[in-house]
């Protein structure tokens, strides 16, 4: 099934599209006002703007040297980043002949309508609501060397009793 997008988006290639697994693959844009065709950009590059009221992305594969193309199974994964706001990753199935081996992020699209998707400020959110002694997500909490309080250990694997006293 094609993936439908509305309005203006940019596209960046995350993984090489042209040949994944045992099949030739391609990504095709259709229905846009300015970017219809096969996406040929290398990894890290892409299309600055794809516009149109409604347009589609097709991911297709060929097993007969590009004579016939069939639609691949593809998925859209919307998410939000602090700088770009609403983005969508497109994942396709990587085919190894008779089996679907894995799914891979092929491209990331950024929604360019800055009224509905204003860019983030880049500053940490909610500084006024989250106390400084709370463990930060993913970084293991406090940073003082040798500290053994719960705040510093709770994000490092083993459960620890969170105490309201901290190295800071």
């Amino acid at each position: 099934m094609p993936l439908t997008f509305y309005g203006s988006w940019s596209l960046v290639v995350l993984n090489a599209i042209h040949q994944l697994g045992g099949a030739n693959m391609r990504m095709r844009i259709q229905g846009s006002t300015d970017a219809d065709g096969i996406v040929t950009s290398p990894v890290g590059q892409g299309i600055a703007s794809i516009d149109g009221a409604s347009w589609n992305i097709f991911i297709e594969f060929s097993r007969d040297n590009n004579v016939t193309w069939k639609e691949d199974t593809d998925y859209r994964w919307p998410s939000v980043t602090a700088t770009n706001g609403l983005v969508v990753n497109i994942t396709a199935s990587v085919h190894y002949y008779n089996e679907i081996f894995e799914a891979l992020d092929l491209v990331q699209l950024v929604y360019l309508n800055r009224t509905i998707n204003p860019p983030g400020s880049g500053k940490p959110p909610f500084g006024f609501t989250v106390p400084s002694y709370w463990p930060q997500r993913g970084d293991g909490g406090g940073t003082q060397k040798g500290c053994t309080c719960g705040c510093c250990r709770c994000c490092r694997g083993k459960a620890a009793r969170v105490v309201r006293r901290c190295c800071g």
Binding site: F5, S54, A82, P118
Partner: protein, 248 residues
């Protein structure tokens, strides 16, 4: 309080993106504009409704309520933004009918079906029931400013009884075409297109829902007459046609 409630399929990845995008908006408002909403975003899970155009259309539905105190600077912006984001086709949330509902007929048809290009779906079913109750829109007891704005109205006109009879014999042959299309919203218009055997086309109208029109057939052969009922709602026009032929 100002509030909006947005419904998603609980398995739709747009659901989390919607909440995260709202949180980023609130952060931006705080950091860049010094404003913050005093309110909440809540997630409520429900089953599927049996109501034809109820917002809980999914087997597992998640309702996200965005509420804020209107007197706090930033709160209304927050709810306004939540509404705009939900309505955007890339997000495609479904709004609660009874809370803030800045929607258009196009928004409703995008979510519930019965668009001009695809007259099917839940809204088509709902409008069919409305047609039975209102004589296809002739009666307006269920109509209000709200229903007219969001398209909870009869949008598809219908052709009623049409007859054509010869009223004068050759050489000045004339015919009288009569129609009764009363079972339509009053603003429906009737048009006639008459194509002569020589291919000359006449476009006539608009006419009333119940009327007749006399026309001449100076050339021998078949005349094709198309009766068109046309109804415009919120900038979108839908038509119904009936075809008759007379042989001069």
């Amino acid at each position: 309080m100002d509030s909006v409630e947005v419904f998603f399929d609980a398995g739709d990845s747009n659901l989390i993106a919607f909440v995260d995008r709202l949180l980023l908006f609130v952060t931006n408002e705080e950091v860049l504009n010094g404003e913050s909403a005093a309110g909440y975003i809540s997630l409520r899970f429900t089953g599927q409704t049996q109501a034809t155009i109820g917002p809980e259309v999914f087997v597992n539905t998640c309702a996200i309520e965005c509420s804020a105190l209107v007197d706090v600077s930033g709160s209304s912006d927050f709810v306004t933004y939540a509404t705009s984001l939900a309505l955007h086709p890339n997000i495609k949330g479904i709004l609660h009918w009874g809370q803030r509902s800045d929607r258009t007929q196009g928004d409703i048809e995008f979510r519930f079906g019965d668009s001009p290009s695809n007259p099917t779906g839940r809204l088509h079913q709902w409008r069919s029931a409305l047609s039975l109750l209102t004589d296809n829109g002739r009666l307006n007891g269920f109509s209000s400013e709200f229903t007219r704005r969001v398209g909870l109205e009869i949008v598809q006109p219908a052709i009623g009884v049409t007859t054509v009879n010869k009223t004068a014999a050759p050489p000045a042959e004339q015919w009288k075409l009569a129609w009764n299309c009363l079972s339509n919203p009053p603003e429906t218009q009737i048009f006639l297109d008459i194509v002569s055997p020589l291919g000359v086309q006449q476009h006539l109208g608009p006419f009333a829902l119940v009327a007749d029109q006399t026309f001449a057939t100076p050339n021998p052969g078949q005349y094709k007459i198309t009766v068109t009922a046309s109804l415009e709602r919120n900038g979108v026009t839908r038509t119904a046609t009936g075809l008759l032929t007379v042989t001069a």
